[in-house]
């Protein structure tokens, strides 16, 4: 089914979740994400699923992980302070390989900050917020329609790779209304977690990976008896203190996420002859695209690269998009979080300039890009 609607970003997210087959939502109210919980509170029951408002964000994600272990496609939504409280369970979901989708509608931090102001301040937290070495998956939609599509995609990645997937967008995108085309996915296109090939019963191989490096853990209640733990574990799922086993497990958990980069192509705008490549994601991509037009009208050969997957860091894609650039400008609504790996990827080949603000318009971005391009690379 294809439907043309005028809806808010948060509602698009909730609708995408239902279209993806989400049947469990555990949440806790927090601005600016609450509309997602409100929508799910109304619609989950109609979709034959369960909505529950838990006592805090630790509990929200805990309930989501429990429901996922019992076989439900599960999701929660939050914002910065709640996302911080969820970090331990995100690490748990990574290590125990529990599929789930966590939506973070970013607001200005740190702390309570500005609860109704947009920000892109949780980008590093999405990757490094939980303790230990851990690779995260974080997607960054740039339009309300993409919020719908990426929520569906987030469930597909979570199920296919048995991993938590974070959807990052900001307050503006969450509350903005846009005309969108909602395409109900073909049921055959939706991914479900891998089914274990072995017969039910006492299981000594619940965490043996398939050819995509994903453990084929059964759902509770399907006749399999097995153990799940946040301790380092062997392929039986039993705790181990063997460092070799632990290292191999961590290696596999990182390796299985490698294909994600290729599943989410970036938006590339006028990059072919661009001297100046503006790197921007989410809401900033929209500002950057207009800035490119304006800069080109003024004679500056600018282009835009808008990644749609932020983590695992798409190094190959970034390298390719910037190979002809004379200067790379990373424009973010934070103090330069994603600019750090971008700059590392450049390896000093061309200057990397950070443009950071709490909110920036097209004119101001053009001015700053023009100044940076001239100062850093002599590009006028």
């Amino acid at each position: 089914m294809v439907e043309r609607r005028l809806i808010q970003g948060n509602e698009a997210c909730a609708q995408g979740a239902i279209a993806a087959g989400c049947t469990f939502f555990g949440g806790y109210p927090i601005s600016p994400s609450s509309e997602i919980a409100e929508y799910m509170a109304r619609e989950m029951a109609k979709a034959g699923g369960v909505f529950i408002q838990m006592e805090d964000e630790l509990a929200s994600l805990g309930s989501v992980l429990g429901a996922s272990l019992a076989g439900s496609k599960s999701m929660t939504a939050t914002s910065g302070p709640g996302f911080t409280l969820m970090q331990e369970h995100l690490g748990y979901a990574t290590l125990a390989e529990i599929p789930c989708v966590v939506v973070d509608v970013m607001r200005l931090g740190p702390s309570t900050g500005l609860p109704t102001s947009p920000s892109q301040g949780d980008v590093m937290q999405a990757q490094w917020g939980s303790h230990g070495d851990r690779s995260a998956v974080a997607l960054a939609p740039g339009t309300v329609e993409e919020i719908y599509d990426f929520t569906i995609a987030a469930f597909n990645v979570a199920e296919r790779l048995r991993t938590p997937v974070v959807l990052l967008f900001d307050e503006t995108m969450g509350h903005m209304r846009e005309g969108v085309t909602l395409r109900t996915p073909d049921p055959g296109s939706l991914w479900h977690r891998p089914i274990p090939p072995q017969a039910p019963g006492h299981m000594l191989d619940a965490f043996i990976p398939n050819d995509e490096d994903v453990a084929q853990v059964p759902d509770f209640g399907r006749g399999y008896r097995f153990h799940v733990t946040g301790l380092m574990h062997d392929e039986r799922g039993y705790p181990t203190s063997d460092q070799g086993v632990a290292a191999a497990l961590l290696d596999r958990l990182e390796r299985k996420l490698a294909p994600v980069e290729d599943w989410f192509p970036p938006e590339e705008y006028l990059l072919d002859d661009a001297d100046v490549v503006i790197v921007a994601y989410g809401i900033m991509g929209r500002v950057a695209r207009q800035a490119v037009d304006q800069l080109r009208a003024g004679g500056c050969r600018a282009g835009m690269f808008r990644p749609t997957v932020l983590w695992p860091f798409p190094a190959r894609t970034v390298k390719k998009a910037t190979e002809r650039a004379k200067v790379v400008v990373v424009a973010e609504m934070n103090a330069g979080q994603w600019a750090i790996p971008v700059e590392q990827t450049m390896q000093g080949r061309v200057p990397t300039v950070k443009i950071n603000s709490l909110g920036i318009g097209v004119d101001e971005l053009c001015e700053q890009v023009t100044a940076a391009a001239f100062t850093e690379a002599g590009v006028a």
Binding site: T23, F24, G26, R42, A45, K46, V50, I52, M54, E55, D56, L58, A59, S60, L61, G62, S63, V64, L65, G66, A67, S68, L69, A70, G71, S72, S74, E88, H89, Y92, P200, H202, L204, F220, G221, G223, Y224, R225, F226, H227, V228, T229, G230, L231, Y238, P239
Partner: protein
């Protein structure tokens, strides 16, 4: 009939519990009740947090999940709501369930989510080396109360009753027959059942407070049991030199029963589509 041994993951033996620890006694009681009630544990989920008590679920051949510190009840709530036909048992400790996870206990009881929570209460943090717990009695020594505890102990059962649990009982590793009966009744209750079970940490709490051996300490469970205290008067009395009681006087057995519809029942009674 299934034997409790058949419900064990024997490949994981020997277990990691210390000599004299009461946790294995409680685990034995759980296993015997499960063996009585189920042919296998295909549809029994045992959810645990972090701590010595929480490690025991790994030894039981069911659907077992060892979650994060304090959050077992949140996982269990999700599991039960997603698949109401499963029997869900939460195994937690006093630090796990009453300190870091205290808020979840309140809300699980309030919701009357249909599961059984068994709290192994050893008055200390055993896994981390015998630190002060919310259940450590006043004046007791621990590695983080070297001058003696300045706070009174929580009464876990009173908390569960106040928050709305529909079946609350207190058991003891000291009396396994009574404990098995309580676990059985808890599983019968259609709603949130809470069991506070006395057990002893021989390696830390007992040693730190010079309370003798595991068997002596087990005996103190009888001494503070209002119901059987009189019968044990001839036995050894265990008091440290400065005379503070090593346990608060506590009632055992079924403490509270107040049936009301469970969370699953209430959820399924709301017709979809009628909103406001």
């Amino acid at each position: 009939m299934t034997t409790s041994k058949e419900l064990l993951r024997t490949e994981l033996m020997p277990h990691m519990l210390c000599p004299g620890c009461g946790h294995g006694i409680i685990m034995g009681a759980i296993l015997r009740v499960l063996a009585k009630r189920f042919e296998n544990l295909d549809n029994v989920v045992l959810v645990a947090g972090i701590g010595c008590s929480s490690r025991i679920v790994g030894y039981i051949d069911g659907c077992t999940v060892h979650t994060t510190h304090g959050r077992a009840l949140t996982f269990a709530t999700g599991i039960k709501l997603a698949r109401p036909e499963l029997t869900v048992i939460v195994v937690t400790g006093d630090g796990d369930g009453l300190s870091i996870g205290g808020n979840h206990l309140l809300h699980a009881a309030k919701r009357n989510v249909d599961l059984t929570c068994i709290l192994f209460n050893n008055e200390t943090y055993g896994m981390t080396g015998g630190q002060l717990a919310p259940t450590t009695v006043l004046n007791a020594y621990s590695s983080t109360s070297p001058y003696g505890n300045t706070e009174p102990a929580f009464d876990a059962a009173k908390i569960a009753i106040a928050a709305g649990a529909t079946f609350v009982a207190r058991g003891q590793a000291f009396r396994t027959d009574a404990l098995e009966e309580l676990i059985d009744q808890a599983l019968d209750n259609d709603g949130f059942s809470f069991l506070d079970v006395m057990t002893d940490c021989t390696e830390y709490f007992v040693r730190k407070n010079s309370l003798g051996h595991g068997s002596d300490m087990l005996f103190t469970q009888g001494l503070v049991n209002e119901d059987i205290q009189a019968d044990l008067a001839a036995g050894p009395t265990i008091r440290p030199a400065d005379g503070w009681p090593v346990r608060d006087l506590q009632k055992t057995g079924v403490l509270h029963q107040a049936p009301r519809p469970s969370l699953s029942a209430r959820l399924s009674s709301k017709p979809a589509g009628q909103t406001r």
